[in-house]
Amino acid sequence: MLCSMHKWLISRAVDSKKQIPAFTKRHLGRCDSCRKFTQLCGSLKQRFAHDTTAILKGYNKAIDQKIISALPEIKESRSTLSRQGVGPNLFSKRTFLVPSLVAASLVLVISISILFLTLPRSSEVNSLANMSDLFKRAYPVRILEKAESPLEKEYTELKETIESTAKFLISRLDVRLGR
């Protein structure tokens, strides 16, 4: 348990090029496995560098020739594409289809709204006229007038009060006020 923690700290110290913590150093004095691991970690860079040069020597260069032989073909296709593809492709789905769909839907909405506004809504007008006739028949004028009478009465009373007040003031103050 402790060894795995110390090994992690050793590994971390190697990666970050920092000193191994003091308590790990103390542990190394006691633990043979961790001491070996530290030695291995320290030597790995050099060993791998040496072995990399050794292993790379055994590489078969024939693969390179295969790739190089395929290059002119790709270069040709690349240059053809660049010649063709100057600017955006107007007939691609994204540049052509989407705006045309939007325009078509707009035209549809506008035409429907024009039709809706210009066509006479005869049935609706007739139905409204019928409604008012029915209302008049159901509630005669008298009833309506009766319903309005308290307001009318108040209005006339107020008018009379104001007129009498004005007359009183004219007579008292002797002010020639135009009527």
């Binding site: 590994s11 291995l40 791998f48």
Partner: protein, 205 residues
Amino acid sequence: MDKDTILKDLSDEELAADTAAGSCSSFEELISRYSPRLFYFLRHRTASDQNVEDLIQETFLKAFRNIDRFDPKRNFSTWLYTIAARQAVSLYRANKAKKPSLVPMASSQDPQEIVIQKQESQNLWILAKKLSRKEYKTLWLYYAEDMPIKNIAEIMKKKKVTVRVLLHRARINLAKKLDKSVYSESFAGENSAEHKFSFSEIGEI
């Protein structure tokens, strides 16, 4: 100074910029620089030689096609290794890890060949190939390519901490394998040369 010498003096990023400008010879130089390194980066015990060759070819052709997209401010090796790693992942998914047939060692082998194979078996990379794919790749990028952990994380699409953990695990497992191989070597020395280290790995080279 001839053209080859000039190209050899240029940095990877300069060569990539030249390729983008239309120079094929610059890309050929990049191929000669990187193909062996990519070969051993992609060559794991689960990958067959044919698959690796196809992967390298695909990687370079993809890089050549998209060289215009390469930003010269970035590291070319990181860019190329990222393409290679992605190609490997897609191939791995497609093949679902078909194990290559390990070539059995012939009993009547040339003694000189055996000596060469023995020397190769001592190569640490042969031992590292026995680690997991991720561990091997992390080791390759860290030790063979001398890449910082940040770039390795970018290539492998992992966090920096994950790369550190992978490196640590690789070291631990490598230490175990080294212990085993030392034991098997001493055991084989006492018995016969044919028992020494399973040559199935060497057969792959």
